[in-house]
């Protein structure tokens, strides 16, 4: 460990650093997407990368997500390790055929004779006033596609380590970057490191209640936990980090300890990943330790509104988590 390990950078910089370091290390890694060159990407993630790596490796495309996904899939098939950037996760809808029917399936359909080592980077989530077509969290669609892994980091440290792992993975990995987290700062070591997938992390320990969360819901859950600690309610926050593969052991261990679980995500509640988590918990060893119903706190079943107040109201905020967690912790007490 060097003195640099105390260095703090943003989530956005951590994502960039992971890409830059991997591209220096491996000539097969390249970035493909819209406006990622001179403009530096819609959120500035790839700022400066064109200068270092040139247009061959920072490949700008026409406005066609289908083409980005198709080109990335083809390149991966031929041995490259593309990182494709989709400007807003919402536009993954346009690339679905390439991702779902091609990238996810080839390895299986060709009996393992090929692999598709690609990363699909996609800014997700609401809270920026970008309205219904630029604010979605579509992870539930992808966890239901065998062959695609889904990662959703909540801190700069996790973003860097998980992205390095995703780039080195020989399978398509959807890497969700929450727009509101881009500016969050946190300690990130300068040297490269990997965080394995399927390694959920207990971000905060507590005895009364577990909140299972990922992405933006993790810092919100931690903030809620701090508020509840003042009332004597000790909340444990489990950050999934990867939704698929899912680290069920950490979840089950935590819920078995606290006996109560609140599942928080931003995506709409119906058909959301929380349902899967609830089923996993209910079917696990933790069932016998549940002292209250499994509860979900998730986005409302509405398109994200443009109006800022309504936008806030559409997805769980810190105060919503406080209210739901408090009620759950006190149920039957």
């Amino acid at each position: 460990m060097t003195a640099n390990n105390n260095r703090e950078i943003t989530y956005l910089e951590a994502v960039r650093e992971a890409m830059v370091q991997e591209m220096r290390l491996d000539k097969d890694v390249f970035l493909i997407g819209e406006d990622i060159g001179a403009y530096g990407g819609a959120f500035g993630v790839s700022k400066g990368m064109l200068e270092e790596f040139g247009p061959e490796r920072i490949r700008e495309t026409p406005i066609s997500e289908a083409a980005i996904a198709g080109a990335a899939t083809g390149a991966a098939l031929m041995g490259m390790r593309p990182v494709m950037e989709i400007m807003f996760m919402d536009f993954l809808t346009i690339s679905m055929n390439q991702l779902v029917n091609q990238a996810a399936k080839m390895r299986f359909m060709f009996g393992g004779k090929c692999s598709i080592p690609m990363v699909i980077r996609a800014p997700s989530g609401s809270g920026t006033g970008a309205a219904a077509q630029h604010s979605q969290s579509l992870e539930a669609w992808f966890v239901n596609v065998p062959g695609i892994k889904v990662v959703a980091p909540s801190t700069p440290y996790d973003a860097k380590g998980l992205l390095v792992t995703a780039i080195r993975d020989n399978n398509p990995v959807l890497f969700m970057e929450h727009k509101l987290l881009y500016r969050q700062k946190g300690p990130v070591p300068e040297e490269s490191y990997c965080i394995p997938l399927k390694s959920a992390e207990v971000k905060r320990e507590g005895r009364d209640l577990t909140i299972v969360a990922y992405s933006i819901m993790v810092p919100r859950a931690i903030e809620a936990a701090q508020k509840l600690a003042a009332e004597g309610i000790e909340v444990e926050v489990v950050d999934l980090r990867s939704l698929k593969p899912l680290d069920t052991d950490t979840i089950v261990r935590s819920v078995s300890k606290t006996g109560r679980v609140l599942i928080a995500h931003e995506a709409p509640v119906t058909g959301g990943f929380g349902g899967e988590l609830a089923a996993v918990i209910a079917g696990s060893e933790a069932f016998d330790y549940l002292d209250a119903p499994i509860r979900r706190l998730a986005g409302r079943d509405v398109p994200i509104p443009y109006n800022r107040n309504l936008e806030r109201a559409a997805v769980p905020q810190v105060e919503d988590i406080v209210t739901a967690a408090r009620a759950l912790a006190q149920e039957g007490k």
Binding site: G259, Y289, L290, D291, A292, E331, G332, K333
Partner: protein, 424 residues
């Protein structure tokens, strides 16, 4: 529009209910589904939920008010809404106005009663169920403080450590139904001996089923056990007479168990309460006699069944018995052939046991235990003679049948066996 909060009609015959307490304050915001108030009927205290989102207003029920069903006792107002004009004028039927201390004692928001038509079901969290099972507690005895009386870990713990007087007092007789009677003392887990273990055999499979059924029978059916001796001289003679012809006919040797089975199947129809089952508050008297024959196979008890034994001849019983026991020993019996008996015979005579009592094989009402043939001295004139005798013991479920009925059955069985030609 303001939403009415009413005294609900929670059972068909309810006309009034006693208001117990508000769980929210007037003016407080409530969400639809939040626990809002507690009432009691003459059966139980019941927690009720808010029918709408909004502000609790126009409250006009207070503890111990006796209120007709459907009477409005408050309103839930949406923001900006005013109370309807007719509010706050409800006449109170009676108010027993108990001392303040008693009112304050009514702090239990809900009894462990399933509110909506689930008699016999207890709401409890998985953890509470598991704890109660480990502690051998009956959840029905515990009142839950969770929504709609759901029992949580905290309730099980509180029940384990009886509360001090003054904490969560039970409610005095006025208004509320009496609390569940004090639970039977639960024995603390008995410490195991400090000894070296040869083997630990999991209680699983057939052993587990036997364990559960026998414990259920032993602890739920009050057993009465009646014994008498039967002179088997004539039965032995009968057996000798029919041994060869029946062997020619069936290929099997007639056993005393077969003769006993034939005798039981002949006598039992006249003693219907010994061929009966208790189910859902009724006693079912069976017309068929499905005779279970307790058999030991590799340390496990199984009970193959001779179906409709009342209409089988001795030869048919011999054949059925030989077939069932043979297949039982080879583990070739279908599950259906080991279930559904209405009366069971257990014979341990071959092991030298002279007399024993058996546990009723549920859901039957009686079981016959058969001992060894013993040459027994019996007074005869001035001296005595030896008679080959067996002891028969019937264990019967005293909920279904009384001692005299069992005695009559045994007596008729005895005379049948002592004059077995009646069986032909």
């Amino acid at each position: 529009m303001a939403t009415e909060v009413i005294m609900p009609k929670v059972d068909m015959v309810m006309e009034t209910g006693t208001f117990i307490e508000w769980l929210k304050k007037e003016g407080e915001h409530v969400n639809k589904g939040d626990p809002l108030y507690v009432i009691s009927t003459d059966k139980a205290a019941i927690e009720l939920e808010s029918p709408a989102d909004g502000i609790l207003a126009g409250v006009n029920a207070k503890p111990d008010d006796v209120i007709p069903v459907t009477e409005v006792i408050a309103y839930i107002l949406a923001s900006g809404e005013a109370l309807p004009a007719q509010a706050a004028t409800r006449p109170v039927v009676t108010s027993s106005a108990p001392p303040a201390a008693e009112v304050a004692a009514v702090v239990e928001p809900a009894a462990a009663v399933a509110v909506a038509g689930e008699p016999g079901k207890v709401r409890a969290t998985p953890l509470a169920r598991r704890m109660a099972q480990n502690l051998r507690m009956d959840l029905a005895q515990i009142s839950g403080r969770g929504p709609r009386g759901r029992i949580h870990k905290a309730d099980v713990e509180a029940f384990q450590k009886p509360e001090l007087p003054g904490e969560r007092l039970s409610v005095p007789a006025a208004g509320l139904a009496p609390k569940a009677p004090a639970p039977p003392a639960i024995p603390a887990p008995i410490p195991l001996p400090d000894a070296r273990r040869k083997q630990v055999v999991p209680l699983a499979g057939a052993r587990k089923i036997i364990a559960e059924r026998m414990a259920y029978s032993a602890f739920s059916a009050p057993h009465i056990n009646l014994s008498l001796r039967v002179d088997m001289t004539e039965a032995i003679r009968l057996r000798e007479r029919v041994l060869e012809p029946l062997q020619a006919q069936t290929g099997q040797r007639v056993s005393f168990t077969a003769i006993l089975a034939r005798a039981v199947a002949t006598v039992l129809p006249r003693h219907p309460y010994l061929n009966a089952s208790l189910s859902d508050g009724s006693i079912i008297l069976w017309d068929d006699i499905h005779l279970g024959i307790a058999t030991s196979v590799e340390e496990n008890l199984i009970v193959p069944v001779i179906r409709e034994a009342q209409s089988r001849t001795l030869g048919q019983i011999v054949t059925a018995l030989a077939d069932l026991t043979e297949r039982a020993r080879n583990r070739r019996l279908a599950p259906a052939e080991m279930q559904g008996s209405t009366f069971t015979i257990s014979n341990l005579g071959m092991f030298g046991i002279e007399t024993f009592t058996a546990i009723i094989n549920p859901p039957e009402s009686a079981i016959l235990a058969v001992g060894k043939l013993v040459d027994t001295p019996v007074r005869s004139g001035d001296g005595f003679e030896f008679q080959p005798m067996i002891q028969l013991t019937v264990s019967a479920d005293h909920r279904i049948v009384d001692g005299v009925a069992v005695a009559r059955f045994l007596d008729e069985l005895k005379s049948t066996l002592e004059n077995p030609y009646l069986l032909i």
